[in-house]
Each structure stands twice: as structure tokens, then as C-alpha cells.
């Protein structure tokens, strides 16, 4: 047996596949499944295609994407929670499914007990937009109109408790404006509704912002990604900056052996340095703001508390 194993290892090394640390030679020795609790063609799917085309370089094994949409992300997340914690099943999700769902639905899992973070791959800051010919020239004007006419402003978002509803709701809470929330089935349809004049404002991610007849009014988050447009951090809405941006983390079922978790965390750290990865992500309009799993786990606990407050403020 031994010579065969040696030959295989030598071959793997020659192919540049054995870049993993020596202690973890045995792991992974078969393909790794990455569950996405969302449908085909969305931003997670596209991101995952980039990740899985580069990540095998560092793990020595292919990474297979498995799409498991349904019930606002619960179906796929539940499947990952039930999977064996052997490091061969990962979950590629976002913070709203991960930490918000528990406050609005009965889940068969507890996100903070059932999962540990491998890495946060990247994040996306939503930008509040109105139509280019809109009456509202600035965020202040929008707020002023909203205060004087409660319920008049129509806020279109991409789905309940999703990436646009959460920052929108958090912002409306901050400035004490009452608006009519109208759900759409995703970012595409809501953008079409905005351009058609059916809704007054919505959000857009920077990757769809360019080349549109839109007027950005406010950037959610810390970084000023659109020139001349204020950020929520500048305006002092720190909670909005904190909970309103989309994080795309990779999680593993809790109980995964410590050394395997480390292999995975190292692989994602190296992935982030990869030039092909950087350029493909850049082309998709995504950043590569990698955060190590250990650090992201701390953030998750805080997100959970803040989402609990947000949800209770909405249901009152």
C-alpha cells in the first residue's frame, strides 16, 4: 500500500495540488460539498462559481456546489446543520439567512450552536437609490418628505427580511419615517419597478449601479464607495452600517475537528491572495474583504442581538 500512497502524494505535489500543510495530509481526500441555500443564478451562485474554480488549488480536492433553495434559505441551512461535521459539507450563506431568520421563523437548528465560521469571503454595501429624474435630490429631502407624509413613500425591497429590507427598515427606524414596504422577488424586479416609477426608492449593490439612470442618495456601511454620496457611518447611523451590509460567509457544521477547520480557514485565506480570484471577483463587481472565521464568529453573535431588536421594532 505504502508505495502507492507515496506515488499519489508525489504526483499531487508535482501537480501543485499538495499545498496544504503536512499535518492535514488526509484531509480532504474526497470532494467537498458547498451548500448554497439559495437558487441558481443569484449573486451567491455566481460568487460560488468563482470560489470553486480557484479553491481546489489549495485544498487538492474539487468543491461541488449544491443549490438547495426554499423557505427563505431554511431548507439548505437545515440540511447543512444536519450534515456530518467532518469538514466535507460547507454552507455558503449570507448574514440575513444566517442570523436574522431565527428571529422571524421557527428553525430546526440554532445558527450559533449549529455552525462555526470558516471565513467571510466578501461583503457588499447596498446603496439607496432613486430614479435619476426623482424629486429627491438628497437623502435629507427624502427624509423630509417622508416625515411630512407618513406612509406615502413607497419603498420597494428584494424580499422579506432580505438584503434590502433590513437596511431600509433600520434606516427608517433611525429617522423615524413611516413608509409603505413593497416586496419584490429579488433585486432585478425591484429595480425594474423603480425605473418604471412604481416605487419611490430602493437599494442597489454597486455591481448594478453603473450605467443606470439612477441617483444614489446614501451608501450603507463605512466605506464611501460612491463619490459624493454620504455613508450611514458619516451620518451617525452606526447600527445601520453594522447590520445593513451583506456579508457572505462560509460556515461549517459545529463540531468539525479543529485541525480540519484550520485547513479550511487557511485555504480561504490563501484563496483571497490568489490573483485569478481577485480579478474574477473584481469583474463581478465584488470586493474581496476576507475576514477570518474566528473573527467573523464574534461578529455573528452581535448581529443576532441587533437583528432581534430590529425585528421587535417592526412587529410593534
Amino acid at each position: 500500500m505504502k508505495p502507492i500512497k507515496k506515488t499519489v502524494l508525489a504526483l499531487a505535489a508535482a501537480l501543485g495540488l499538495a499545498a496544504t500543510p503536512l499535518a492535514a495530509q488526509d484531509y480532504p481526500d474526497r470532494p467537498i460539498t458547498m451548500i448554497i441555500p439559495l437558487g441558481a443564478g443569484g449573486s451567491h451562485d455566481l460568487n460560488a462559481r468563482v470560489i470553486t474554480s480557484v479553491l481546489p488549488e489549495y485544498l487538492g480536492q474539487p468543491v461541488v456546489v449544491q443549490l438547495m433553495p426554499g423557505a427563505g434559505g431554511q431548507t439548505g441551512t437545515a440540511a447543512a446543520a444536519e450534515a456530518e461535521a467532518d469538514g466535507y459539507t460547507l454552507l455558503f450563506t449570507h448574514n440575513f439567512i444566517d442570523q436574522l431568520q431565527q428571529h422571524v421563523a421557527n428553525l430546526p437548528y440554532d445558527p450559533n450552536e449549529s455552525f462555526v465560521s470558516v471565513a467571510r469571503v466578501n461583503s457588499a454595501q447596498p446603496v439607496l437609490v432613486v430614479r435619476e429624474d426623482s424629486l429627491y435630490q438628497s437623502w435629507e429631502e427624502l427624509v423630509e418628505y417622508g416625515r411630512e407624509n407618513p406612509g406615502e413613500l413607497r419603498f420597494g425591497h428584494s424580499g422579506n427580511w432580505g438584503a434590502f429590507m433590513v437596511p431600509g427598515l433600520a434606516l427608517l427606524n433611525e429617522v423615524d419615517v413611516e413608509a409603505t414596504l413593497i416586496p419584490y422577488q429579488g433585486g432585478g424586479p425591484v429595480m425594474q419597478a423603480l425605473l418604471a416609477g412604481d416605487v419611490d426608492f430602493t437599494f442597489a449593490f454597486p455591481s448594478v449601479l453603473a450605467g443606470q439612470d439612477l441617483r444614489p442618495l446614501l451608501v450603507v456601511g463605512e466605506d464611501q464607495i460612491v463619490e459624493g454620496v454620504p455613508t450611514t457611518t458619516e451620518l451617525g447611523f452606526d447600527i445601520v452600517s453594522d447590520i445593513g451590509i451583506m456579508h457572505r460567509p462560509v460556515l461549517a457544521p459545529a463540531g468539525v475537528p479543529e485541525e480540519r477547520l484550520q485547513v479550511l480557514r487557511d485555504a480561504f485565506a490563501k484563496l483571497n491572495e490568489n490573483e485569478t480570484f481577485q480579478s474574477l471577483m473584481g469583474r463581478l463587481g465584488e470586493n474581496t474583504a476576507h475576514v477570518d472565521g474566528a473573527e467573523y464568529d464574534k461578529l455573528r453573535q452581535r448581529q443576532s442581538d441587533e437583528y432581534a431588536d430590529l425585528v421587535s421594532s417592526f412587529s410593534q
Binding site: G41, A71, R154, P183, G188, P189, Q192, A193
Partner: protein
């Protein structure tokens, strides 16, 4: 514009561009033909390949997968009554019946020709009037979608085979099943009866595979013959499509194309709705409506042309606004963006030649589809000549695997079996399950659209519709008129046809009597 078009045409007339479209298309046809694997999945998997190709190769490659996948989806629908997508459900009304009559090859060929013509004409029209379509697409909001969906549901019931009452019963069963899970507006869980597995609702794939494939398998077992094909034929895979038959179907194909082109402007549900509208319109216009559902050639041509005619208009919001209307265009958007092309108003100005080249590649893909499909249909049509002892277990395997592979949820298998038993019983009792499937597919978007319309109106629904939604008002007024017209016309035709058959028989008997 014509200079740009000419330049674009030169750009795609390269051997490697054609080869990439053809490669993508073969891949698409085979993946599309496997139940459970959708065109979207195939495109998502090969998307990274396009990242590393130049735009004029990478995007036409994906378009090849797309067009091939849609045609591929009709293959199991026609041969073994397993529709892989909602858009292929209408094809099962006549496709499998043709197969049983020993005409599987003819059915595949008419599906191929109808798809290619529908797609070609709609893409061509789209290139010519892209600006107009973009303007109309923006006028279609939730109230219009709701009105059009209600109209389509009624048309489906009126033109389903069997009685109106039975159709309505099935429609309501389908709608009730669609309500299980989270409601679309408030995301509240309903009708889950306390089972967590039901919170995600019932998926389309186990429903259609169960309702269509399982009864087909059971019926195949009941019939005691060696193969699925019941009619005696000299050539095992059946005869080819004749020129005369094609000529006769052309009217149907063109009608369906026009319908599909218009309905294609409705985001999301365009394909399913237009396939059924095309079928209903063909049946309504036919001199022999009673032959529909029993293996009528035009019954395959109509839905196939209609659901492919949607493809042109679907691309419009993507190209003009950068908004993907469905999952397929979302993947194409990813491919565009990864190439540094940001679809939207400016793209036509900055990269006009390239955009027109990509649009033209859609036309080229239609032509290639006919060639590749023509070469592949003999292979596929032979499938049904496999001895039943092997084919039936294979069908069951594909039904089960297809259900499971879609989202790897074991619950879906129980659903599939349950729907299979239900579908078998329904067919035995003379209930057409098509309205059920339509109710199931169309209720969620309808509920969504109604909910959104109510929210948009901010409390004054009638004032809002009359004040700012003229298209909706027009559709709502038109609906009863159209339904009544179709129903009365159909009743008259069926009676006339029955009379004609009686007269014919009498004449034949008379003639037979004379020769004796």
C-alpha cells in the same frame, strides 16, 4: 444601425464562434433531456468557462447551452411524458400521445422546427424593435401581471379537455397546494400542519414528475406489449416529418410565435403561460379540435413555438436596463459583467457592435439548433423502442433521480410518489391534471402581484387602477368577452365536428353497402 449590424455580422462569422455555440448546444440538449437537471444549472456550471474566453466566444457559448437546454427539455416530455420544466408541461398534452402512435420521430422533429422558428422570429423581431419592447416592458407592473395571469388561468380551464367543472376542481386543488408554505407578501408560514418539512412548500419538480411520469409508468405496465409504442409500424422509431405536414403547421407556429412574443414581455412566468396560450389558440382555431390531446401534430408545434418565442423579449430588460428577468438572464448578466460589459442604457452606445453580435449569435444558434437537433433526433426517438422490460424501470429511475437531484431533499420523493398516485387516480377518473399544474405554477406569482398591487395602491385599489393603470383596466374588461367567445366557439366546433364524423361514417357505410 445597419452599419453596426453588418459589422456585428462579420464579427460572429468565425469558425470558432460557431463551434462554441454548437458545443454549448450539444451540452445543453443532453443536460436538458435529463429530468431534474435544468438549463439554469447547466449554465451555472459552465459559467466559469466563459470567464476565460473572449466575450464573443464566451457569451454565445452560454447562449448555445441555453437554447439547447430548452429544446432538450421537450425530449423527455414528448417521449416518456416527463416534463422537466413548467414550460414543457403543455408539450405533454400531445407529445406522448404521438409517441404512442409510433410517431416519436415526427413529434421530435416538429418540436425542433417549431422551437427554432419561434425563437428565430422572436429574436429577430427583438433586434429590430428593442427600444419599443423595452418601453412596453416598463409599463408591465404587478397589476398588469395579475390581470394577465387571471385571464390565462381562465383560458386554461376553458380549453382543457373534459368538463369545465372538472377543470375548475383541478385548478383549485393546484392553487391550494401552492399555498402551502410561506405566503409571498408577509412571509408567514401557513398550511404546514405543524410539519417543518412543509414550511418550504411543495416544489414544482416532484409535482410535475409525479403527476405525469408516474401514471405514464403505471399505464405502460398495464398495457401488455413489448414496447411503449402501441401502433404497428414498419420503422421502429416512426416516420419523419413530411413537408406537407410542416406547411400545414406553419400557421399554428406563426400564431404561437406572435403570442409568445407578446407574452414574453411579462417577467418570470412568460414561458409557461405562452406555451398554454399557444396551445389553446391552436386548438381554438383548428378545424379538428377534437384531435387535440390524442396525438395532434399542431398540438406539439403550438406550445413549442410559443414557449421559445418568449426568448427574444426576455433578453430585453437585461440588455437595455441591465435587469435580469429570470434565472437564465441572471446568469447571462454574470457572464456579461465578468467580461467587463455592464448591460444597461450605455452598453448600446459604447459597445453597440458587440451587443448586436451577441444578439445575432442568438439567430445563428437557432439555425444551428435545427441542424444539430436534426442529427440527434433519430438517436433520441429510438429510446421508446427499447423493450418495455428495460424502459419502464429506466423511466422510474429517471423520475426518482430527477426529483432528488434538483435540490437533494428526500421529502420531495414522498411528494412525487403521492402526486403519482393522485395523478393515476385522476386520469382513471377522466380528470385532466393540466389545470392543477397551471394553478400550482401561476398562483404564487398571482398572489404576489395582487398583494403588491394592493400595497402600491396605498388603500385605494380602484382609484389606483383606473387612475394610473390603463392596461390593467383594458385586460380586465376584455377577459369575460374573450372567455365567452372561446367557450362558445369551442362548443360549436365540437358539436360540428361530431356531426361531421357522424355524416362521414354514414357516407362510408353507404359506400360500403353499395360495393357489396
Amino acid at each position: 444601425m445597419f452599419e453596426t449590424l453588418a459589422e456585428a455580422a462579420l464579427m460572429i462569422m468565425r469558425f470558432d464562434v460557431l463551434a462554441m455555440i454548437a458545443a454549448g448546444m450539444c451540452l445543453g440538449i443532453f443536460v436538458g433531456a435529463l429530468p431534474g437537471f435544468t438549463t439554469v444549472m447547466a449554465m451555472a456550471v459552465v459559467l466559469p468557462i466563459s470567464f476565460f474566453l473572449e466575450p464573443i466566444l464566451g457569451i454565445p457559448f452560454l447562449i448555445g447551452v441555453y437554447k439547447g437546454g430548452i429544446f432538450g427539455g421537450s425530449i423527455p416530455a414528448i417521449l416518456v411524458n416527463i416534463p422537466g420544466t413548467g414550460a414543457a408541461v403543455a408539450t405533454t398534452l400531445d407529445g406522448p400521445a404521438m409517441t404512442r402512435n409510433g410517431q416519436s420521430r415526427k413529434a421530435l422533429e416538429i418540436a425542433l422546427v417549431a422551437s427554432a422558428i419561434g425563437d428565430f422570429l422572436s429574436s429577430f423581431g427583438t433586434i429590430l424593435v428593442i427600444g419599443l419592447i423595452a418601453a412596453i416592458a416598463l409599463m408591465i407592473g404587478p397589476p398588469e401581471i395579475a390581470a394577465i395571469l387571471i385571464l390565462s388561468l381562465l383560458i386554461i380551464v376553458v380549453s382543457s379537455s373534459g368538463s369545465f367543472l372538472k377543470g375548475m376542481v383541478m385548478l383549485f386543488i393546484g392553487m391550494s397546494i401552492a399555498m402551502v408554505g410561506q405566503d409571498p407578501i408577509g412571509a408567514m408560514v401557513r398550511f404546514d400542519f405543524g410539519f417543518h418539512a412543509l414550511q418550504a412548500g411543495v416544489n414544482l419538480l416532484p409535482l410535475i414528475i409525479g403527476l405525469f411520469a408516474i401514471p405514464e409508468i403505471l399505464f405502460a405496465i398495464e398495457r401488455r406489449q413489448g414496447s411503449i409504442v402501441t401502433a404497428e409500424r414498419t420503422r421502429p422509431e416512426g416516420e419523419r416529418l413530411r413537408w406537407g405536414e410542416f406547411r400545414r403547421s406553419l400557421r399554428t407556429i406563426l400564431r404561437s410565435t406572435a403570442l409568445g412574443g407578446v407574452i414574453g414581455m411579462i417577467p418570470g412566468v412568460g414561458q409557461v403561460v405562452s406555451a398554454f396560450m399557444g396551445y389553446s389558440a391552436a386548438k381554438n382555431a383548428s378545424k379538428t379540435p377534437e384531435r387535440f390531446g390524442k396525438g395532434e401534430l399542431e398540438g406539439v408545434a403550438a406550445p413549442e413555438a410559443a414557449n421559445n418565442a418568449v426568448n427574444g423579449p426576455t433578453m430585453v430588460p437585461l440588455l437595455t436596463l441591465g435587469i435580469p428577468g429570470d434565472n437564465i438572464t441572471a446568469i447571462l448578466l454574470g457572464a456579461f459583467v465578468a467580461q467587463g460589459l455592464r448591460p444597461g442604457p450605455q452598453l448600446f452606445q459604447d459597445q453597440g457592435v458587440l451587443v448586436y453580435a451577441i444578439l445575432l449569435s442568438m439567430l445563428v444558434a437557432c439555425v444551428l439548433l435545427v441542424i444539430i437537433g436534426y442529427l440527434l433526433t433519430p438517436v433520441f426517438s429510438r429510446v421508446v423502442t427499447i423493450n418495455k422490460a428495460y424502459l419502464v424501470p429506466l423511466m422510474l429511475l429517471f423520475a426518482v433521480a430527477g426529483t432528488y437531484v434538483y435540490r437533494s431533499n428526500p421529502m420531495d420523493l414522498y411528494f412525487m410518489i403521492a402526486f403519482g398516485v393522485f395523478g393515476y387516480a385522476a386520469r382513471k377518473m377522466g380528470f385532466d391534471v393540466t389545470p392543477l399544474v397551471m394553478g400550482f405554477i401561476l398562483l404564487p406569482p398571482l398572489e404576489y402581484a395582487v398583494g403588491q398591487s394592493v400595497l402600491l395602491s396605498r388603500g385605494d385599489l380602484f382609484g389606483y387602477l383606473i387612475g394610473s393603470r390603463p392596461i390593467t383596466v383594458a385586460v380586465v374588461i376584455l377577459t369575460p368577452v374573450l372567455i365567452f367567445w372561446i367557450a362558445s366557439r369551442q362548443g360549436r366546433r365540437t358539436r360540428a365536428a361530431k356531426r361531421a364524423v357522424r355524416d362521414q361514417r354514414a357516407k362510408e357505410e353507404e359506400a360500403a353497402g353499395r360495393t357489396d
